[in-house]
Symmetry: C2
Subunit: 243 residues, 2 copies
């Protein structure tokens, strides 16, 4: 079995969000993450691998390095690429974990790292404003280190999201918020994480019950958004009876 020129063309277009949406497909790259894909029973359309990886990926279509390089987003392309199907996720409205809402997170590396961190702390879903970067962007997929196969990312307006969880108390991270240590966060919490440069948009900020802050004593203006999210999730883990 070899790859057709049409498929090559189609797959190499998946670096664009509009094409991922059209075909409902995205690219994952590298041995480790392709193995995670198979472990997680995540649906895929095809796996493309060079001949030397045939034993490890018996389902793969054998491709030349050149063919794989055409699809790859990396400077040094890997020997294996999978073309995965974008799933249709259902919101779990009975989720017992606190809920994380990402407001306009822009950097795909940050989003992927946040997805990885959520997975570490046992979350199954995350909510993203519609202007948050696409979680199936190749950089996001890469930095999720396979957690993209386990975390359901829902792109949804904040108002609509809040209607599904009307009993939850809403918190937003902010440089002027209350010290996170001094707040008793419950499991019925929604935590909104803001944009890398501008924080939470005013429109959403106006709707929140509280703001929280990670106390710093130094000179840095702010924390990286995935670091801040990691610290918040670690704090939430302490109050979460699930853990």
């Amino acid at each position: 079995m070899t790859i057709s020129n049409n498929d090559l063309k189609k797959y190499s277009s998946l670096n664009r969000k509009i094409k991922r949406k059209e075909y409902q497909l995205f690219v994952v790259e590298g041995e480790k993450i392709c193995k995670e894909l198979l472990k997680n029973d995540f649906e895929f359309e095809s796996i493309l691998a060079t001949e030397d990886l045939q034993n490890e990926f018996p389902l793969a279509t054998v491709c030349s390095r050149k063919e794989i390089a055409r699809i790859s987003h990396l400077k040094s392309p890997s020997n294996v690429i999978a073309i995965c199907k974008i799933p249709t996720y259902k919101i779990n409205s009975k989720d017992k974990k606190p809920l994380i809402f990402l407001d306009n997170v822009n950097d795909p590396g940050n989003l992927g790292t946040i997805i990885r961190t959520l997975d570490w702390f046992g979350y199954k879903q995350v909510f993203c404003s519609k202007n948050t970067v696409d979680c199936f962007n190749n950089k996001s997929v890469m930095s999720s280190m396979g957690s993209i196969f386990r975390i359901n990312c829902h792109y949804i307006d904040f108002d609509e999201f809040q209607k599904i969880f009307p009993q939850h108390v809403t918190y937003g991270t902010s440089l002027n918020g209350e010290n996170i240590d001094s707040i008793r966060l419950g499991t019925n919490s929604i935590i909104v994480i803001g944009n890398e440069s501008n924080g939470i948009s005013k429109k959403i900020m106006d709707k929140l019950n509280n703001t929280i802050r990670i106390p710093g004593v130094g000179n840095a203006e702010s924390l990286n958004v995935s670091v801040a999210t990691g610290i918040v999730l670690n704090e939430l883990g302490k109050i979460n009876p699930q853990k």
Copy 2:
């Protein structure tokens, strides 16, 4: 004042570590970080800016976009670049903060984010194994968001480092360590953070008093190293009387 061809050539070579070492210079790029540079009284050799930024950077040599693009490491070059002097840092052996030692952290983005996070939590210095990526790498400088001007990075062998702080208790982050919540970390602590893929090298691990772990309940194999460091620093902040 215009820039000479020789300087252009010299500055554009600074994307290589060997050249940064030879000239004892490194590049910072972008308005925000160049303003941080001036605020922090950090030594520089020159600032290069396009004409429209002359008011904001009166000390700058006016350059064309094309000249700046030759030095820039970015796909979309900024309008201002500074050529900074690599400082000679002295270890503060009386530091009252816990000490962070980075063992073979490879990714410059991670190192920069760690430097930014240290700055947030009020640290002034960090220790790096000699195989840790160069903190003056352009990606590291960028992701430090200006904190590179405030944090002293010391590249030093672990043995030599430990000799300077013989009374400190050593901890290493490890997936099999003790839950970080259940350990009483004192200010006289050294925390070793390991490599992105392989964790702490066996050579160093064998010398540590304790290992600590950030408790996770999910499926991710590990946390991103800068997220893990952020969580550790937040925990350390709670015990640190300085704060």
